[in-house]
Symmetry: C2
Subunit: 217 residues, 2 copies
DNA sequence: CCATCATAGATAGTGGCGCTATCGGATAGC
DNA sequence: GCTATCCGATAGCGCCACTATCTATGATGG
C-alpha cells in the first residue's frame, strides 16, 4: 500500500501522515526505492490509534510520541508505559506552595494509606490528584474530600473492570497497546457516562427532564 | 482593591487579567473614574475559578466564557449550565459515518434504555460516548462494551456522590458554580484516582511495585 | 518511449490560542 | 510637582497541529 491509499483508507491527509512520521508517531514506510515506500496494515492501525488518542483522548502529539515509543519498546515494563501515558497533566505549570497544596498532599497520602494502595506519592497521578484537590480547596470546596471515598470506590471498580478487560484480551494485540487504549479512551468513556448519569440523577432529584435540547444552529 | 493587588493576590499577571475581562471571563472592575477601577472579593474568587478550570480542568478560554455566562445568568436552568460545560468535546471534528459509528450509537441507545436514564441521545455526553466507543471499535476493541455496565455502575455511583455533595452545599455559594466545579474538577479528581487504582490493581495482579520512579531531572 | 501522475523528503507558511508587550493618556497619593 | 500605577487599545509572541510548496525521482498506461 502506498501513502495515497493509506490516506484514503484512514481519512488522514497525506501531508499529515508525513508530519506524523517526522514527529515519530508513525514508523516510516518501507523504502522500495530511494523515493518510494510501501505501508502495511500496521501503519493503518497505528494511524487510527494516533487519531483516536488525538481526537478522543485529547492527547498532544508529543505525548503520543512518548507513549507509542514506550509501546514499541519490548524492554519497557508495563508500568512505565502507563507512566508515560499518565504524565499528561503534570508538567511545567506554576507550583503553588500554599496551605491548600499542603493540605491536599496530606489528604492524598492519607487516602493512599487508608486504601492500602501500593503506590508512592511521587506517582504523577497522585500529584495530579493533589493539584485538583488543592484547586478545590482554593475555591472553598475543601469539603469535597468528604466524597473522596465514594470516588475511590468507583475508581477501584473501574480499575478492576479495566484489568479484567485487558486480561481477557491478552494476545489479541500488544498488551501495552490495549492498556494505552483502555486508559486513554476509557477515560473519555467514563467521563461521558458520568455526565449522562448526572443528567439522570439530577432529573430524579429536581424533576427536570434533562433533555438538553439545543437550538439546531 | 485595584488591579495590581488583585494580580498579587491571585498570581495572575495584570495583562492576563485584562485579557480575561476582554474575553468576558471576568466582569470589569467598577469604574471610580474614567480610567480607574476597583475589584472586589468576587473578582478574586472568579479569577481563581478561571485558573482552576483552565489549569486543572483543561478547558479552553472560550468554553469557560460560555460556562461562566451561564453561571451568571439567573434565568438559565441548571441543566443548561451543565450543557454548556458538557459541550467540551463535541465540536467541529470530522463526522465519521462508518459501521462503527452506527454500532456505537446503537450501543449507547441500548445502554440508556437499559439503565432507564432520562436523557436523550442528542445529549452531548451521549454523542461523546458514541464517538469514544466508535473509536474503540475502529481499533478492534469493540469488545470494550462488555465492561460498559461496570463503568456505568461506577458512573452512577459517582454521580450520586456529586449530587449529594452539591445538595449539602446549597447556599454556600451559587449552586450552579458548585455544579460546574464539581463536574469539571471532579473529572480531574476521578481520572487521577482511576490511574492510581490502576497502578495498585496491576501491582496486585502482576506483582510489579508500580512505584513509577522517575529521574529527578 | 513518453506523458502524466504519485511519491519522498525538505522547508516554509498558516491559523488558532493563550497570553504578553507596549503605548498614550489619565489618575492616585505623597 | 513627581512618581507609581492604572485604563483601554493594539500589536506581537510562542507553541502547536497541521498544510503548502518545491525538487527530484519513480510508477503507470497507451
Amino acid at each position: 500500500m502506498r501513502i495515497g491509499e493509506l490516506s484514503r483508507n484512514t481519512g488522514v491527509p497525506v501531508p499529515t501522515i508525513k508530519y506524523y512520521v517526522r514527529e515519530g508517531l508513525l514508523p516510516p514506510g518501507e523504502l522500495t526505492s530511494p523515493n518510494q515506500a510501501t505501508y502495511g496494515e500496521a501503519h493503518e492501525r497505528r494511524l487510527r490509534l494516533i487519531r483516536a488518542l488525538l481526537d478522543v483522548g485529547g492527547m498532544k502529539v508529543a505525548e503520543i510520541a512518548d507513549v507509542l515509543a514506550a509501546v514499541d519498546d519490548p524492554e519497557r515494563p508495563l508500568h512505565k508505559v502507563l507512566g508515560a501515558a499518565a504524565d499528561r497533566l503534570g508538567r511545567d505549570d506554576v507550583e503553588h506552595d500554599d496551605a491548600e497544596s499542603a493540605t491536599a498532599r496530606a489528604v492524598v497520602a492519607d487516602l493512599v494509606s487508608r486504601r492500602g494502595w501500593r503506590t508512592h506519592e511521587s506517582n504523577p497521578a497522585a500529584i495530579d490528584l493533589s493539584k485538583a484537590l488543592a484547586a478545590m480547596g482554593r475555591l472553598g470546596h475543601g469539603a469535597f474530600v468528604e466524597v473522596l471515598d465514594d470516588y475511590a470506590d468507583a475508581a477501584e471498580q473501574v480499575a478492576r473492570a479495566d484489568l479484567r478487560y485487558v486480561d481477557r484480551r491478552v494476545a489479541v494485540e500488544s498488551m501495552t497497546e490495549t492498556v494505552v487504549i483502555g486508559t486513554v479512551l476509557g477515560e473519555a468513556v467514563f467521563s461521558a457516562l458520568r455526565r449522562l448519569a448526572h443528567v439522570d440523577a439530577s432529573a430524579q432529584l429536581y424533576g427536570a427532564d434533562g433533555s438538553q435540547e439545543r437550538k439546531p444552529s
